[in-house]
Symmetry: C2
Subunit: 448 residues, 2 copies
């Protein structure tokens, strides 16, 4: 565990001269001219940090701010010489060094980012959709132009997980990246858990608090998280996967009764994103899952994020913190700006890992499952369910039935021993046909 104690011997043959440290502050580099595309929560926070922090103010000058109907966005605390515009060409034809894209979405952001790189500007973006879809291509374009593209804010906001995987853990051979990548889902699920409220009530609360959008589809149905998972798989597992190839299951099916039953099993429920490399296969999915209360994943509360990377040599490394919100996301953007300023004209030597293209992307994890069936009570129900499981050679691990539910709508839970998810899915389809069911069955993987 520890390095060996050194000898006290000093080799006389090795002559070493002392070095004088330079006195005073380092010489000032010319400030880096920055344009911000999108002056919403994140854009405003970026401008604020660049203006408030003396060291950042000396390095970076925000010279352009682009937004649609920009007049309503103007703030008085930025210097007078900032040019506010709603014409993107003003920015693209300007002399800015770096364009910060915090508009989000694919269109027109993709177009603008390409144009910025083409015109010789570096880019910092928080855009997970864009990077998941065309990260390598944009990086190649940046390299060709002798510029940089950075996207630390595209996954897990303020948590420096991309640099952690790409640089800090580059010495390991990572095979699994797992975590909680969507703050909205986590807010909703932890509210359901702690306040015992329904999904609908928790969603409404999240919307009122600004943690969810009017149309929550992207978040609650897993599309947001799967873009981030695709980026993590690229950065950590050197594996290219398109977001569409990743199975997404919505958290809308979760009811408060699921938390009750999970708790009896020593678990809680989280939206878990997981990618795991096994030979030429990539297992990947974004699903609400049962997680043991003792796991770090269970302890992620409110809108926080967590990423757990597992490597052959270093074991599990965990990164957690605020994965969303104006300020944490802006911290990631400003860190990327600093990184670009530090590197200046020099491109990295590269020597990248050869990206591994999986033969197949699958969600067919071998795992235990939690199966909730809601029925109109009558004799023989458990027999019918277990008979189907038996036919697929799925072993039932436990049956849980809490008292106090109405006979007309009685939820009970069957946990299944570890088996292939695809097998469980087939059994589920048959179970869903049973005539005594009053709503579709809910089936969730259980994390070890």
């Amino acid at each position: 565990m520890r390095s060996t104690k050194p000898s006290r011997r000093v080799d006389a043959e090795v002559v070493v001269k002392p070095v004088k440290l330079p006195k005073g502050p380092p010489p000032a580099a010319p400030p880096c001219k920055v344009a911000i595309l999108g002056f919403g929560t994140v854009g405003r926070s970026v401008a604020k940090i660049l203006w408030e922090r003396p060291s950042a103010r000396a390095r970076f000058h925000v010279t352009y701010i682009y937004n649609r109907n920009v007049e309503r966005k103007r703030v008085s605390w930025l210097p007078q010489d900032v040019r506010w515009t709603d014409r993107i060409e003003d920015v693209l034809n300007s002399d800015v060094d770096v364009v910060v894209e915090v508009v989000g979405g694919l269109n027109p952001a993709e177009h603008w980012v390409r144009a910025a790189l083409q015109s010789g500007k570096s880019v910092v973006t928080a855009n997970k959709q864009l990077i998941a879809r065309c990260g390598p291509e944009l990086a190649a374009l940046a390299k060709k132009k002798g510029r940089h593209i950075e996207y630390g804010a595209s996954v897990a906001g303020g948590i420096p997980v991309l640099s952690g995987l790409q640089d800090g853990l580059s010495g390991d051979r990572l095979f699994r990246v797992c975590g909680i990548l969507n703050g909205t889902c986590n807010y909703i699920l932890t509210r359901m858990e702690s306040a015992g409220v329904s999904f609908a009530a928790a969603l409404k609360e999240a919307q009122e608090q600004g943690f969810a959008e009017a149309d929550p589809t992207d978040d609650v149905d897993g599309y947001d998280a799967r873009s981030k998972l695709a980026i993590l798989a690229r950065a950590g597992l050197h594996t290219e996967v398109r977001p569409e190839e990743i199975l997404c299951c919505s958290i809308r099916v979760i009811e408060d009764v699921d938390f009750m039953y999970s708790n009896m099993l020593g678990c809680t429920i989280r939206q878990v994103s997981c990618a795991e490399k096994q030979g030429r296969l990539l297992y990947a999915s974004v699903q609400p899952s049962l997680v043991p209360l003792a796991s770090p994943v269970a302890r992620v509360h409110s809108s926080q994020n967590l990423v757990m990377a597992t490597g052959e040599y270093g074991g599990e490394t965990v990164f957690s913190g605020y994965g969303a919100g104006g300020n944490p996301t802006a911290v990631a953007v400003v860190s990327d700006l600093i990184s670009i300023a530090r590197r200046g004209e020099y491109a990295m030597n590269g020597i990248p890992e050869v990206p591994h293209t999986p033969r197949k992307v699958t969600s067919d994890f071998t795992t235990k499952h939690y199966l909730r069936v809601t029925v109109k009570d009558k004799p023989g129900i458990l027999y019918s369910v277990t008979r189907i499981c038996n036919r697929y050679q799925i072993n039932v691990d436990s049956v849980l039935q809490k008292p106090g539910f109405p006979k007309e709508k009685l939820p009970f839970v069957v946990t299944l021993e570890a088996c292939k998810a695809a097998t469980v899915e087939k059994a589920m389809k048959e179970i869903a046909q049973l005539e005594f069911l009053v709503q579709p069955p809910v089936c969730l993987p259980m994390m070890d």
Copy 2:
């Protein structure tokens, strides 16, 4: 929390050409010649990873391995052309590109690292003592020579926390860095906690398991952790502090009864290292402390490490994983090698933060305290203790006394409301003089 939805409008004036991605693997760079100084657990793991991982094997050639009495260290799984030597001059006069120093200790490692840099080699080191003491000076020497020095393994082994603070969170203004930096102490304390054994028994176990050295002083008395804390304060808080300026308290005073009482208070005990910047003051200490069971710090088990960084903008970010052991430490070393190979000849533009030199380093945190007094029971004891507290205007928060202890050696606990540590220390000195004490009192800070 989320960026605004983009418009679907595309600006006709902006013309973007598609980019072709290069096909096939990237062109091979010449391999980087590496010497390893010290072929103990970490050195062996470094060689193993560089040899086992195909991508690493293509980039790095281990050409020299130095160790005292090197013959007993030879392994058969490394290629024949590796030169094994016990003459450091062989390495220093060779054409290696990077010297990996995993010998540890100040002397002669400092001498060798300087000599390697002087002779135009880059250096990767896991040496916390060396980096805590002369990191900036060695970095300046490396820069002067157009070379690099990296030391990701010097703090928290496999957890990429230094790059996280210096790069990933550079956009924030961090003011506190806190955590569990010594795996040996954590192993001992978590064994005492879970198995209810004494400090001596847990230490013996740690030694048998290879988690503690024959002389455990460096670890259990906090000297190891304070070097790491000094490096973290420099990387995250841009504050220079000498290890000797940081208060160290040993965990030797902790008894199993302290875990019993801590538990009654909803806490457990960990060796906590903490540095916090407040204006021109730096609060810093390494102490066994009570930590709430709900805190991430309480959930660090066995020899794991954890670092929690708190910033003005991004809030709390947590890094955790394996902070020690051959493989995790070697992952950090290999990651540093990769980082040097990626940068090649190019030095970073630098523009470092101007380091802040604190006017004063202090351990005078304002905090709640846990005070255990072990007495020969007689009337008036609590009165005597609380009278002293009262004289120093320290408010008693609670008094705990478990039944079942012998009257001749009765431990009881007083918790104190938040006040300055220095005030508590003065009161402690008086309490220590009370004639009914059968052993010195134990006073621990309580984390919020």
